[in-house]
């Protein structure tokens, strides 16, 4: 991943996140995340990470233990240490020997990615936000 900028998010070891992790910049995860992960940029899930979430990213590199559905617009790399359970939709997929995938894989999907509001409301959800449950619904359709 490129040099860290002020828009990047890093969840390091020793930290647990629960909810909708929505970011505009790159996301790097080495800790625990449960819920939803959405970024318009790149996602990197490290070898020590434990993720139980629906994922949407432009590019993604997965190394750790991931359970959930993944939608990647461009390139998805599954590294040798990754253990994945869920469904994948990706533009381009690369799987290293040793990676474990349990689920379905769909390639080159033409449909527009689900849009999820990246603007947090001050209190409660904004009226225009797409419910995050629809990410899972679209993958199972």
């Amino acid at each position: 991943m490129a040099k860290t900028s002020s828009q990047d998010t890093i969840i390091a070891q020793g930290v647990r996140v629960e909810g909708n992790l929505i970011a505009e910049g790159n996301i790097l995860i080495d800790g625990e995340v449960k819920g939803t992960i959405v970024t318009q940029s790149d996602l990197d899930i490290g070898v020590d990470a434990r993720v139980e979430a629906s994922i949407q990213a432009r590019n993604a590199t997965l190394s750790g233990v991931i359970e959930g559905n993944v939608r990647v617009e461009e390139r998805l790399d599954m590294l040798a240490s990754s253990k994945f359970k869920g469904d994948i939709v990706a533009g381009l997929l690369s799987v290293e020997a040793g990676a474990e995938i349990n689920g379905t894989v769909r390639m080159g999907v033409e449909a527009e990615p689900q849009t999820i509001s990246t603007k947090p409301s001050r209190r409660g959800r904004s009226a225009n936000a797409t419910p995050v449950e629809s990410l899972d619904d679209s993958l199972s359709s």
Binding site: T4, V15, G25
Partner: protein, 244 residues
């Protein structure tokens, strides 16, 4: 018109000559103005705000050190005046960040009036320019009403607006966000430090009890933190060598 707020420490005789030279230089540059001298027994907030409310103050200049600057920052609040800084005595970490020289060398920068709009942070009603920090604590935070973030072990907590330290260089005071850093020691004798970094617009941190924090240069004690960023709230005179 300029309002100069003098730190109470400048009444010491060892600053007499420096202050005289500075005042002469400001007059030569055409930016002399009215002067308020802070004193231990005076309410600095009321004193500064009274002057600003008269309506003809365009710029308030803190003359002294980082503590003086913090007082002026708090007093100015939501008014539209521009803030300046003329470092003379004591701790001046903020000056280097803003690209401002010390003493008489700061006068031309004030006259050049290179104004930047910076974000401000606010914690429990107190405004800060640089950071809020605490030693190692376990905490649970609610971030932007989107997710909760919890440390499994104790972590050193820093919420940074304008970064000073190299490890916080990713934080920016012009991006409309604060950046939270939580550094956790891992491994044998906690030698390895793993740092979580999260940009936020607002955050609530629940603590186990009253905890000491440093807000810019001031120590405060809180049982709960309510933090938010105020984008572009601060209009401040900077130098060309500013660090942002």
């Amino acid at each position: 018109m300029y309002l100069y707020v003098y730190d109470e420490g400048l009444q010491d005789r060892r600053f007499e000559r420096d202050i005289a030279q500075i005042e002469t230089r400001l007059t030569d540059l055409g930016i002399a103005g009215s002067i308020i001298r802070l004193a231990f027994f005076r309410d600095y907030l009321k004193t500064i705000r009274n002057e600003i409310s008269k309506g003809d103050i365009s710029t308030v200049v803190a003359v002294g050190n980082d503590e003086t600057f913090a007082k002026v920052l708090e007093a100015v609040g939501d008014s539209k005046v521009v803030i300046g800084y003329l470092p003379v005595s004591g701790k001046n970490a903020m000056a280097a960040l803003l690209g401002i020289q010390s003493g008489i060398d700061a006068c031309p920068l004030l006259s050049a009036r290179l104004v930047q709009n910076l974000d401000l942070g606010e914690v429990n009603g107190h405004r800060f320019l640089h950071h809020v920090s605490c030693g190692a604590i376990k905490f649970k935070a609610s971030c932007d009403d989107l997710y909760t973030l919890e440390t499994i072990d104790k972590a050193k907590l820093d919420i940074v607006n304008l970064s000073v330290l190299p490890e916080h260089k990713a934080a920016s005071a012009v991006d409309g966000r604060l950046t939270m850093f939580a550094a956790v020691g891992r491994g044998f004798i906690r030698k390895t430090v793993c740092t979580t970094m999260v940009p936020i617009r607002f955050m609530t941190v629940n603590l186990l009890g009253p905890t000491k924090f440093v807000v810019d240069s001031t120590e405060m004690e809180f049982s709960k933190l309510e933090l938010r960023v105020i984008p572009g709230a601060l209009r401040i005179i900077t130098g060309k060598d500013r660090k942002f």
